[in-house]
Symmetry: C2
Subunit: 145 residues, 2 copies
């Protein structure tokens, strides 16, 4: 695994990232690819949304039980977005605003500044909201109302 580029984000420290119930990820940032990967971006500007796979490079180790900020109950790590995962890979959906060479200007970053990017994929289809069940998160939201 090698970085294909780095995230430019307004968030310098973990505490800067909005978290907990109702947290919005509307921050603009940039995915800056290394020049040797520029060719791999051909035609990406046709997609409105992208998946970004990235490395939790400032997390150490993992915990199988996580305590997410959106709930006061613990949950299995694979039922959460905890950074303390057996393989420290993050996944974020961003909106592609525009491309400027190897720089993708995007909305929706929740990564820290200088986070290594592992992969970018096109977002091709959605699960219809009426088919989606959101487990403990929906329950925590209901309790918070």
């Amino acid at each position: 695994m090698r970085p294909i580029g780095y995230v430019k984000s307004p968030y310098k420290e973990p505490r800067d990232v909005p978290r907990g119930l109702g947290a919005q990820h509307e921050a603009e940032g940039m995915l800056e690819l290394l020049p040797e990967f520029a060719e791999g971006l051909a035609d990406i500007e046709g997609f409105s949304h992208l998946y970004v796979l990235w490395l939790f490079d400032r997390s150490q180790g993992f915990e199988l039980t996580a305590n997410p900020p959106s709930d006061n109950r613990p949950h299995g790590v694979f039922a959460t977005r905890s950074p303390l995962r057996p393989n420290p890979i993050g996944l974020t959906t961003v909106e592609l605003l525009r491309r400027d060479g190897v720089r993708l200007h995007v909305r929706g970053v929740d990564m820290l500044d200088a986070t290594p990017i592992l992969d970018i994929k096109p977002y091709l289809s959605s699960i219809a909201p009426e088919k989606l069940r959101r487990g403990w998160l929906a329950e925590a939201e209901a309790r918070a109302k």
Copy 2:
């Protein structure tokens, strides 16, 4: 990076996996976690859909320009789901049918049998279809009509 488990899939060879325009991924399969990661699955059965991150373990090397089976034109690898990526990580959304201990029965596998699983994350929200642009894929679909 270490496998947290392996996929059980009806697809034994790359040619078995449905591909190209209109390919449906409705196959049922199983995500079988290693016993030492069982605790990380707590509460996962509340989610209807999961992201599975996995390793393209039968691909070698990468190509920055890909020739996807859904189009007769080449595209940058990051605008495709090509297995020949700088970091060979696959991403699949599956529907969770039921859990049986460390075994997650799912619908929508497009991985080969025995594919190593790197991570599982809850699918929490969708981009509304009316906000989605699907670039070259939408164009290829329109041309095929």
